[in-house]
């Protein structure tokens, strides 16, 4: 039974999501409850799965009973188990939070909840998939639901959802083209099988070209600079209720898909014209980390600033996983988990500020620190500490491991980039806090009543950001298990 946990993790949100329009046709008010229950069950399954992988090691799941190169396989290893647990945790908190800020017309629509659940199951599939084409279809499921959820806000969001769709579909097509190249050159789609057949073919331009397309396609999906342009507008205008979930999961999971491909297919010795591929990827990560941080610094809108912060962190993670050593890799992956939770927290805070104070820019939040609920201020401080990367939060240990890995690989420029992006992060949070605690222009007076759902979600997420710091040792050792386990 335990080997079926990943597919259960996928089927639970899928089944509830698909049957939602039928079940709640006459009882629309049940939708939020069902969604919440489903995601809670998912979280429990994800934890059970984590425990199974911890004790039994990586498990391969062959769909339809057809073993790997013939059929489709899922790989349930420590990376997948941890990211799946993170995604379901974030989804759970986002849905609790979403009930507070959801607009009334969305709340009445069962389709909205269906799409959230379909998207969640798509992301789960993307995490586990170990087959190139399977990754493609999951990318499209998650992306399609993403476009619609962004567009569901109406008005301006429609235009940005359309742009997101154009770029996202182009990314999907480039990915498909890459898969096509790899398939034509090797005759297989399974990652393990590819990993066996590729080393002999690494000089083939078709294979290298295919990998470049796959990377380009996934770069669009993970919003790697310079292909990030869809993200800030889309997430800043998405409905507040889903923005935390979208911002924290979509790009990270696309990155996980790339990490799987990179880790199983590109050995550190692979070179293109005497430059190791991993170093090239690392340089791209450095560029993204620095430019993303700089762009975040010049934003005046809170959500856009946080979105650029997320873009810069994607770069950081890419640096970590491309260093070519275990320390950097686990650091990067651990930072990915942290970043997913931090992004969710940031967008929750930004959404809550907008919900309670109708404030979204730095000017509008001026002095709010004096009048708003201390919960918001507290959560903002915790997330800021984690984003900057101070101990004891998880953000510190992630960055620390990336730096250690960079030192181990003697890539001093990467060390510099991590530190510089930390300073940039510090810079933009300084901007936020200087207006947050500024003297209020007019004394707004009464403290707002923060509802239970917001209290719960913000409290738990702030707590988990700190708790991850204490768990870092365990998580990193667990991640090492899949690294040392060989293969992917």
């Amino acid at each position: 039974m335990s080997s079926h946990l990943p597919i259960l993790l996928f089927l639970v949100p899928f089944f509830m999501g698909v049957s939602m329009p039928i079940v709640t046709a006459k009882r629309r008010h049940l939708c939020p409850g069902i969604t919440l229950g489903t995601v809670a069950v998912m979280f429990v399954i994800a934890l059970m799965n984590l425990r199974v992988v911890l004790t039994e090691g990586p498990i391969e799941y062959a769909f339809g009973g057809w073993t790997a190169p013939i059929g489709i396989a899922w790989l349930n290893d420590s990376i997948a188990a941890i990211v799946a647990a993170t995604v379901s945790f974030v989804a759970l908190l986002s849905i609790i939070y979403g009930r507070v800020v959801v607009t009334s017309d969305l709340e009445k629509s069962s389709h909205y909840y269906t799409l959230i659940l379909v998207m969640t199951s798509g992301l789960v599939g993307l995490i586990f998939a170990a087959d190139l084409f399977n990754v493609f279809v999951f990318l499209e499921v998650a992306a399609l639901a993403g476009y619609a959820l962004v567009g569901a806000a109406g008005g301006k969001a429609l235009v940005f959802a359309f742009r997101y769709l154009l770029l996202g579909s182009l990314g999907g097509t480039l990915y498909l083209l890459g898969v096509g190249h790899l398939y034509v050159a090797t005759g297989t789609l399974n990652m393990t099988d590819l990993a066996e057949r590729l080393p002999a073919l690494m000089t083939s331009t078709a294979v290298v070209g295919g990998l470049i397309y796959i990377f380009l396609g996934l770069s669009i999906k993970m919003a790697l600079i310079p292909l990030h342009s869809w993200l800030p507008d889309a997430y800043a205008n998405a409905p507040s209720a889903v923005a935390p979930f979208l911002a924290s999961t979509v790009t990270k999971v696309a990155l996980v898909a790339w990490v799987r491909i990179e880790y199983s297919l590109i050995a550190p010795t692979v070179e293109v014209g005497h430059v190791p591929v991993l170093v090239l990827l690392e340089e791209l990560g450095i560029i993204a980390a620095l430019i993303g941080g700089a762009l975040a610094l010049i934003q005046t809108d809170l959500k856009r600033m946080f979105a650029y912060g997320g873009i810069s962190h994607i770069g950081l993670i890419l640096i970590g996983v491309s260093l070519g050593n275990d320390t950097g890799f686990t650091g990067g992956m651990f930072y990915l988990v942290n970043d997913a939770i931090m992004q969710a927290a940031l967008f929750m805070i930004a959404g809550a500020i907008f919900h309670h104070h109708k404030a979204s820019t730095l000017d509008e939040i001026r002095g709010l620190g004096h009048s708003t609920s201390p919960l918001l201020t507290g959560a903002l401080i915790v997330v800021a500490i984690a984003m900057v990367g101070l101990p004891p939060t998880g953000g510190f240990f992630g960055k620390w491991n990336i730096i250690l890995g960079a030192l181990e690989a003697k890539h001093h420029f990467a060390v510099f980039a991590v530190i510089a992006s930390t300073l940039l992060t510090f810079g933009y949070f300084l901007k936020v806090f200087s207006s947050w605690f500024n003297q209020p222009q007019s004394v707004a007076g009464e403290t707002i009543a923060v509802s239970g759902g917001l209290r719960l979600s913000l409290g738990v997420i702030s707590f988990s950001i700190i708790a991850l710091g204490f768990l870092s040792d365990f998580v990193v050792r667990f991640l090492l298990q899949s690294v040392r386990g060989g293969g992917a």
């Binding site: 899928f14 698909v18 329009p21 769909f63 339809g64 057809w66 190169p69 013939i70 059929g71 489709i72 017309d105 969305l106 629509s109 389709h111 909205y112 269906t114 799409l115 379909v118 998207m119 199951s121 798509g122 599939g125 084409f133 399977n134 279809v137 999951f138 499209e140 499921v141 399609l144 639901a145 476009y147 619609a148 567009g151 569901a152 806000a153 109406g154 429609l158 190249h181 398939y183 034509v184 050159a185 090797t186 005759g187 297989t188 057949r197 083939s204 331009t205 078709a206 290298v208 070209g209 295919g210 470049i212 397309y213």
Partner: protein, 174 residues
Amino acid sequence: MTIEIPLLVLLVVTAGGAILVKDLISAVFILGSYSFVLALVWALLGAVDVAFVEAVVGAGLATVFFLLTLFRTTAKARIIRRPPAPWAAIVGLPLLGLLLLYGAGDLPEFGDPTAPANTHISPVYLENSVADTRTPNAVTSVLMDYRSFDTFIETMVIFSAGISCVLIMRNNSK
């Protein structure tokens, strides 16, 4: 090969027509014929199932969706301006073109029966399709059995597309 060349030329011509024609409704009809020519090319290449799907889905359903959308717009909105070329496209496209040529540098010969794609896994499907599933059409047996999970997810894509359309249109009509 000899019948293919005129079809390929026709393909480029119809694509160009769909792109260049100023009237959107004509462009959509030309796009439908593009799909149809594509289906013919695929049928020539031995991909009958793909040709059938493209003819029905591409030339049929896609055209219907386009037309239904356009019928709700006014004629004024369908007037098209000449586009200026953005610098990103001028820089990016040649790079992408070079990448395409680079990637195709040592792809196996077109139609080579000993290419990896034709020798590694696909014979297994062809040899076992009837014995495993009693299904002579290997495409169907791969689609619905050997790789049925992909098809399952794809059905999910369609489902979420339907849901998405309803959500987007409904939400905005208020």
